[in-house]
Symmetry: C2
Subunit: 166 residues, 2 copies
């Protein structure tokens, strides 16, 4: 069971990420329109915020993530069964997103660039933040409230993120 | 009635902004703790998201704001009676925040720096986005749903934002 499998990096696009949640970026907006007397463009409603289950509420936080060293070995994933969780980088630094349909499936590895954010649907298995290069801040919109909202799974195989993402 | 009053710029701090809403920044967190096996610091629960009134829900959007030319004359304010509205710059560019207790009161002028975000409480009178220097993107968390959620007021006096913010 101690297999180690190399992951291939994919660009982060709305369609590729759809099984796991939303990509938060201007290009993914279903509606775009001018506001504020034409001085501002609104890229509208980019993420489904799902935080009300079992007495929950949406909360806004900042996460300050230490950069990870590559190559990196993925050995665990987590999920939040009671709510969505959105991450938007407040720098333009790239970061990595690892998600899986189940802990037994081979994960997908996405490279988020140019300020792209992600919103994990409730229950989506994902790796904790994988910042690259330098300490990186993310605005996070997730659920506060009662109940157990974090499951962790140790994976049966291990997965290698390569040292060269190109 | 055609008075014009110069506004003095104030630094944006949690205490100074408290009558109008929240400042979204690490330094304003009431709780800060380590997560993700110590690789991430969580600055927890920085804004009160109030979007459920009258069938509303929280939505996440991007606003792309054209920069304003200074000096700038404030002639109007708006408010969203049914929900809070948070703005977090996804660049570190400074921007201006103009708020007032009522349309008849002299507004307060705050300079937001170093990635500071603001969350206007429902009903807070504020000026539309005042980006500076270059086109600036903001992540916005506000209310979607039925009902009239925008009031505008033309001010009895006009207010001057100076050309030099120092």
């Amino acid at each position: 069971m101690n297999r180690s499998i190399a992951l291939a990096v994919e660009p982060l696009t709305r369609d590729a990420f759809a099984p796991f949640g939303d990509v938060i970026e201007a290009a993914s907006a279903a509606r775009t329109y001018a506001i504020n007397a034409g001085t501002t463009t609104r890229f509208h409603d980019l993420a489904t915020v799902d935080t009300d289950r079992e007495g929950g509420r949406p909360i806004v936080s900042l996460f300050r993530a230490q950069p990870r060293e590559l190559p990196f070995t993925v050995t665990m994933l987590e999920r939040h069964p009671l709510g969505s969780q959105a991450f938007v980088p407040v720098s333009k630094k790239p970061y990595l997103v690892v998600v899986a349909e189940t802990p037994d499936a081979v994960p997908r590895l996405f490279l988020a660039r140019n300020g792209q954010g992600v919103n994990y649907r409730a229950g989506t298995w994902h790796h904790p933040l994988l910042a690259l290069g330098e300490v990186s801040d993310f605005l996070v919109i997730d659920r506060g409230g009662p109940g157990n909202n974090c499951d962790e799974a140790t994976l049966a195989a291990t997965y290698q993120i390569p040292g060269n993402l190109e």
